[in-house]
């Protein structure tokens, strides 16, 4: 994948990491332009945290080079690199006050006392916690501790901000709130940021670009929309968002047959007769509008309705799909308006142009 034009701020080339015989990372290539917010997304054990720690110099890569702002930092120890980092545990110094925590890196720069005080005040204001600089970390809530860790990491104005699952220790409501706050803070400061997360919603809502990783390799690099709409591999389709998988065969270039249906789809290639798998998001199967003569309309029966609030996750069985179920989102209003319940028949239209087809 190519990055937007211009010299990248951070460039990883051929990064590999072995722990004994286990390969944690293989040939990682990535370019991050200045000011971008990138998320490393993947299941646990995919190597995303290892990659972040390699960028920080906390682990040493087995192969490959790292350039940050024209400088080769491949072999530099952490103290000679230029980044701020926030860990999942925050690693706030429990015996130091909020002020001292934030000032920790500033004191070492031999800045004057007044300059430090001003800078800490500025940072605390930036993260929205100017009230209590004399308190200790244990007196703060998880969300507040998180902001202090962020302020401490930003104190020395690093060129790169690294966030290692910074939100996963927080409860759901605080987490959603802090997502947007971190994002807007990052945009205001324009600091190049890399965040590791296993939460796809977090990645989709915060990142400029997402790096989806699996088993130590990058499966896809793209904007949230690209990753969601045009997943590059079955893994990405499956890992990011909900998806229906239909097994079928390639009819001809641009057409796939699933049971008794034949769908036109752009992403369908390969020689006719090959078995393939079509991936389709629930929202790409619609109940309305359907007009007479629309293509790709199927007859289905409601099999199960899972109530999720304003909308429901509905599983339907369609005749002619060889017993493969489909999951669709239907609004609560629609269901009650049409009097639909378990066993009801209904018509659904498949937006086949949104289908992603991979070899089986």
């Amino acid at each position: 994948m190519s990055s937007p034009q211009g010299e990248p701020y951070l460039r990883l080339e051929g990064i590999g990491k072995n722990f004994g015989t286990f390969t944690a990372l293989r040939d990682i290539r990535l370019e991050v332009p200045k000011g971008e917010f990138v998320c490393f997304l993947g299941p646990s054990g995919c190597g995303k945290t290892t990659l972040l720690r390699i960028i920080a110099g906390l682990e040493v890569q087995s192969a490959g080079t790292i350039h940050q702002g024209q400088r080769d930092i491949s072999a530099l120890p952490p103290a000679q690199r230029d980044y701020g980092i926030v860990f999942q545990s925050y690693a706030l110094f429990p015996n130091l006050s909020i002020f001292d925590n934030v000032a920790y890196g500033l004191v070492n720069r031999r800045a004057g006392r007044d300059a430090i005080r001003a800078r800490v005040g500025e940072l605390l204001k930036l993260v929205g916690l100017s009230g209590s600089p004399a308190k200790y970390p244990s007196q703060l809530s998880g969300g507040e501790q998180q902001r202090i860790a962020l302020a401490r990491a930003l104190a020395t104005s690093p060129g790169l901000l690294l966030l290692d699952e910074p939100l996963s220790a927080l409860d759901a409501i605080v987490r959603v709130h802090l997502r947007q706050e971190i994002r807007s803070l990052q945009q205001r400061l324009g600091v190049t940021t890399i965040m590791v997360t296993h939460d796809q919603e977090e990645a989709l809502s915060m990142a400029d670009r997402i790096v989806v990783m699996n088993h130590g390799v990058i499966d896809q690099i793209g904007t949230p929309m690209q990753v969601y709409r045009e997943p590059a591999t079955p893994f990405v389709a499956d890992f990011v968002g909900k998806v229906n998988m239909l097994a079928g065969t390639v009819e001809s270039a641009g057409r796939i047959r699933v049971g008794s249906y034949s769908f036109a789809c752009a992403s369908c290639g390969g020689s006719p007769g090959r078995s393939a798998r079509a991936y389709l998001r629930p929202e790409d199967i619609v109940a309305r509008p359907i007009e007479a003569g629309d293509p790709n309309v199927i007859d289905a029966t409601i099999d199960k309705i899972e109530f999720l609030g304003s909308y429901c996750l509905v599983r339907v069985m369609a005749s002619g799909l060889e017993g493969q179920p489909l999951t669709v989102y239907l609004s609560l209003n629609y269901l009650s308006e049409m009097g639909l319940e378990r066993g009801s028949p209904m018509k659904l239209r498949i937006l086949a142009e949104r289908m992603r087809v991979f070899d089986a």
Partner: protein, 568 residues
């Protein structure tokens, strides 16, 4: 092509601040090598040398097995240790069981009394038993009615060892029994399991590692103890007294070294088993376990209380007799109160210097030992790089636990007394006593420090590096202040052990650096057993005072650090 790439290993450049850490680590490794590995290797070398320093292979060992008297000592050592272990482990298990699994009253008092022998040298018990059952003992007649002709010899050794080792076994077993998961007992109850079956299917298997560890530790402590057989052993020879006689009496270094190796063997074995046991025990209890809380049960609680009262009274009888006898005018003819042993025996005899020496040794050991141990543990746990050095350092930090004091002391003579050793100037100084004692008790302090350090967030150092703060600043501003409670614990441990130790230092003192614990031996040899008792009581009193001071320091530190520990 790819093979070439793979061969080109990437090595991170070492930051100068990390290099400081590596240097400090190398210095520590060097120090431990000189103070531990050197002396031990010298013993090994001595054991295969003749009296003139020539290599003789296994001749010394062959000669040893050809000497019936020495073989008798080996057998004596083994069987008395086995008997003491067979008594102490079940007795301590029952006591620990009462403390952890019953609702009896006065648990704190029971625990405190049974742990007090730790504050005195082990030979306090031997002295006390002499007053009870010795030639002029109060209960000599009772003992002889039981068919034991005299206390000097195996009976005295076994009794005194039981008393002095009891608290060691008790501590291990209390730990083992407190690691109980209440959910197992609840599950058993819901299945209608009998009390007996619960004991044999849950309690005992749960404590089996603790039991194994307690048995090994007891056996090793008894077989390597020097003070008790010296005082109450009479003509009954054991390995520990043999070493002393061979080396100090006959200057037969090679054979002394051979006997020392026999003492080292069980200690090394215990150490190995204990390491495995510790690992298994900690993995048994998951973080989700629910701590067991005993429920009141009248008859059972009364039985447990009765047992603990009996044991505690026996303990108090031993401790009390030593204290009582130290204040008696002329045992056993005039038992009126007198400070004669303290004033004439110790002060006028000029032996109060020994007590001051002991305090000096304890203070220096507490200070230097704590600093060395904590700095070492920090470097090993929290710094980056120099990974080739770490396993060796780890071994050197754990090894002292496996080396009996007698063996270490012997190694020190061989090593530091050698004329070509540049460290020879240390011989017969207070410094060598401090160094030897620090090394002797290094491991327990090290493990305490490591536990405290492991409890800290592992990313403090990473954060500091990203903020370009060198590690020692973080050590000073964060790590050290957080770990002060552990430092106090380590320091107290060093202080008390330095006050009470005999086995290693008995080889190393000079007339100027004689210690209180050694003065006890000298008094005993001179037949002044009243003064010996008085000195033992003084040591116990000093240890107790130190405990109280440390308690105060701990309390002050707690108060100062409460602000960040306790959230408001």
């Amino acid at each position: 092509m790819s093979a070439v790439l793979a061969a080109a290993q990437i090595r991170q450049r070492v930051h100068w601040s990390d290099r400081v850490g590596h240097l400090a680590m190398a210095a520590l490794a060097l120090a431990l090598a000189a103070l531990l590995a050197g002396p031990l290797l010298t013993i090994l070398a001595q054991s295969v040398e003749g009296r003139k320093g020539e290599f003789v292979g296994l001749k010394n060992f062959v000669a040893y097995f050809g000497t019936p008297a020495l073989l008798d000592s080996l057998w004596n050592s083994v069987w008395t240790s086995l008997v003491a272990t067979a008594v102490v482990v079940p007795a301590a298990f029952a006591y620990a069981y009462a403390l952890t699994r019953s609702c009896m009253p006065w648990k704190g008092a029971f625990r405190t009394v049974t742990l007090t022998p730790l504050l005195a040298p082990s030979l306090l018990a031997a002295i006390s038993f002499i007053f009870w059952f010795g030639n002029q003992g109060v209960l000599k007649g009772w003992m002889q009615a039981l068919g034991i002709a005299q206390i000097y010899g195996a009976p005295g050794i076994i009794l005194a060892q039981i008393f002095s080792v009891f608290p060691h076994a008790l501590m291990i077993l209390i730990t083992a029994l407190s690691l109980a998961d209440a959910r197992l007992y609840e599950a058993a109850d819901s299945l209608g399991t009998s009390r007996k079956r619960k004991f044999f299917t849950i309690t005992l298997p749960g404590a089996k590692y603790g039991l194994a560890s307690a048995a090994m530790v007891t056996f090793t402590l008894v077989i390597t103890d020097f003070g008790i057989p010296k005082v109450i052993g009479g003509n009954f020879n054991v390995l520990a007294t043999d070493v002393f006689k061979l080396v100090i009496g006959q200057q037969d270094f090679p054979r002394g070294a051979v006997v020392a190796l026999f003492l080292l063997a069980p200690a090394l074995l215990t150490f190995g088993v204990d390491r495995i046991v510790q690992r298994k025990q900690t993995s048994m209890l998951t973080t989700r376990a629910v701590p067991y809380a005993p429920k009141p049960s009248r008859g059972y609680d009364i039985a447990m209380t009765a047992y603990c009262v009996v044991v505690t009274l026996l303990m108090l009888a031993v401790l009390g007799m030593a204290i009582f006898a130290s204040f008696v005018k002329f045992w056993p003819y005039d038992v009126s109160f007198s400070l004669r042993h303290y004033v004439y025996g110790i002060v006028d005899g000029g032996v109060d210097v020994a007590f001051v020496n002991s305090l000096t040794l304890a203070a220096w050991t507490a200070l230097a030992g704590t600093a060395l141990v904590f700095a070492g543990a920090y470097l090993m746990e929290k710094t980056r790089g120099a990974d080739w050095l770490r396993p060796a350092l780890q071994l050197l930090a754990l090894l002292p636990m496996a080396v009996p004091g007698l063996v270490l002391g012997l190694g020190y003579i061989f090593f530091f007394n050698a004329p070509h050793n540049p460290l020879n100037f240390l011989y017969h100084t207070m410094a060598i006593l401090v160094l030897c004692t620090v090394v002797h008790f290094y491991t327990t302090g090290h493990l305490t420090a490591v536990t405290a350090l492991k409890a800290l967030d592992a990313e403090f150092e990473s954060v500091s590096a990203s903020l370009k703060v060198p590690f020692w600043k973080t050590f000073w501003r964060v790590t050290l202040p957080i770990c002060t409670p552990a430092l106090v614990d380590i320091s107290r441990y060093f202080f008390i052990n330095a006050m009470t130790t005999i086995s290693a230092v008995v080889f190393l003192y000079s007339p100027e650096t004689k210690l209180a614990s050694i003065a006890i031996l000298n008094f005993d040899e001179a037949g002044e057993i009243g003064a010996a008792a008085a000195m033992a009581v003084l040591i116990a009193a000093a240890s107790l005072a130190a405990c109280i001071v440390y308690l105060g320091i701990g309390w002050l530190i707690d108060r100062r650090t409460q602000a960040w520990r306790a959230p408001k």
